[in-house]
């Protein structure tokens, strides 16, 4: 019986070891796809999430836009944006991801630039910064409520650019 217990104990330890070995990678992915951890090189230290561990993505809330005046107002904000003149024409997608905290403030902006074949590309820096600065300045974000509590959430805006003009804003 004692031997039997020893074997059981050994099997238990082996199983535990195997389970731990099965998922060893702790750095490849964030807590959740699309999470934006704080980066002291990039992020404003004054932006404070309320409870980052419980941050959700925007589509998990009933209101798809979570912006005062809905998407119509977001589009309107960019209608008035004067983009810098450039020598060459560029087209593709600029996606800006960010976090909205439970007070409706934004931070942790990240940018992805793709051509229409979904390959990496680089827009002119001044052009990109102009769109980024306007996105950072948007101040109509609505704190998301779930279970009667405000939550931090991740949001993104994708700008479809054709020949240096914003032709659409998604989602």
């Amino acid at each position: 019986m004692t031997n039997y217990m020893k074997y059981l104990y050994l099997i238990f330890i082996l199983l535990l070891f195997h389970a731990c070995m099965g998922i060893t990678d702790t750095s490849k992915y964030p807590r959740h796809v699309g999470d934006i951890p704080f980066d002291s090189q990039l992020d404003d230290v004054n932006f404070e999430p309320c409870n980052e561990k419980k941050a959700l993505t925007h589509y998990r809330f009933g209101d798809p836009d979570l912006y005062e005046g809905e998407k119509y107002m977001i589009v309107h904000e960019f209608d008035n944006l004067v983009l810098p003149e450039m020598d060459s024409l560029q087209s593709g997608y600029i996606t800006i991801r960010f976090m909205v905290n439970c007070n409706g403030q934004t931070g942790r902006f990240r940018v992805e630039q793709l051509d229409f074949d979904y390959k990496d590309m680089r827009f002119n820096e001044a052009f990109l910064n102009s769109i980024l600065a306007k996105t950072v300045s948007l101040n109509g974000w609505i704190p998301a409520i779930r279970d009667n509590k405000p939550h931090d959430y991740y949001k993104y805006l994708t700008f479809k650019i054709i020949d240096n003009k914003i032709v659409d804003i998604l989602p």
């Binding site: 099965g22 998922i23 990678d25 702790t26 490849k28 992915y29 964030p30 807590r31 959740h32 796809v33 699309g34 993505t57 589509y59 798809p64 809905e70 998407k71 119509y72 997608y93 996606t95 991801r97 992805e112 793709l114 229409f116 979904y118 390959k119 990496d120 991740y154 993104y156 994708t158 479809k160 659409d168 998604l170 989602p171």
Partner: protein, 281 residues
């Protein structure tokens, strides 16, 4: 006799438990048992179902999908499932790269999903290419958006319209309507609305009105239908009726009597400001 009945019921209960157990076992593992035992696909399938036990997009689930792909690189569903959270969170390059692999293996199963995101991103040319392949080469007879509310031919039709070929959009909507002749129960909530919009864009206002009237019989709470009917009446210089429709559209958008609007039609979406503008004209 009573004893026989008791035995019979016990036996029946036992059979029922065995049956439920088998059903749970089979469906709990999805369709993994269709793959040969010890095959990479079987293991990948089982790992993928384990991944689904975690929150979509969580690190735990992504790592399990990675493991599944490593063991069974020909198991398409793992690539597809792994791609979903990337798309939903605006990480399109990663999403496209993963779904491309699923499509290489099983185009008939996953073209619709890539097409859905192409449409969503206004990549109308790519959306058309994927969906025309799905419906012509793979002869798909009926498939919906991931949420299940729109048949993919609505997106194909709208993509054509957005690319400047409205008649081709109408062709695909008619193709879909023919499909419903065989199985009318499949008809969705917005098919007549979509066809109505395309007729409207093609300046076929009488046909558009017919479709919008049909749409009202399917769902009279959808605000956008009233807006387009208002536009048709405005075109016909019937301003009184037009204004009446715009008022109804605004009321529905404000949620009166269960009214609603929705933003699934991209460039054809209607916003409250659009309706208010027509009311003020």
């Amino acid at each position: 006799m009573v004893r026989l009945n008791m035995w019979y019921y016990k036996y029946l209960c036992l059979l029922l438990f065995v049956f439920i157990g088998n059903v749970n076992f089979l469906f709990g593992q999805g369709n993994c048992l269709i793959y040969p035992e010890d095959s990479g696909e079987r293991k990948a399938c089982e790992l993928s179902y384990r991944a689904l036990e975690h929150r979509q997009g969580s690190k735990e689930s992504q790592l399990l999908f990675d493991e599944a792909i490593k063991i069974g690189p020909k198991y398409a569903w793992a690539y597809y499932q792994k791609s979903v959270p990337f798309f939903k969170r605006g990480l399109f390059a990663e999403g496209i790269s993963l779904i491309n692999k699923a499509i290489e293996l099983e185009p008939w199963n996953y073209l619709y999903y890539r097409a859905y995101w192409y449409f969503y991103n206004r990549s109308y040319g790519y959306c058309i290419k994927d969906l025309e392949e799905l419906y012509t080469v793979h002869e798909e007879s009926y498939t919906t958006t991931p949420g299940g509310d729109l048949e993919m031919r609505l997106l194909l039709a709208m993509a054509h319209a957005q690319s400047g070929d409205v008649p081709k959009g109408i062709y695909w909507m008619q193709h879909l309507m023919e499909r419903y002749e065989q199985e009318p129960q499949l008809k969705g909530l917005y098919d007549h609305f979509c066809l109505g919009v395309l007729y409207y864009k093609n300046n076929q206002f009488d046909l558009a009105e017919v479709e919008f009237e049909k749409q009202l019989t399917v769902d009279d709470k959808f605000a956008d239908t009233y807006y387009y009917l208002g536009l048709i009446k405005a075109k016909a210089a019937n301003n009184t009726l037009a204004q009446d429709y715009f008022k109804q559209a605004l009321a529905k958008m404000n949620g009166e009597n269960g009214g609603y609007s929705r933003n699934s039609f991209e460039a054809f979406n209607i916003y409250k400001e659009d309706v208010e503008k027509m009311l003020n004209d």
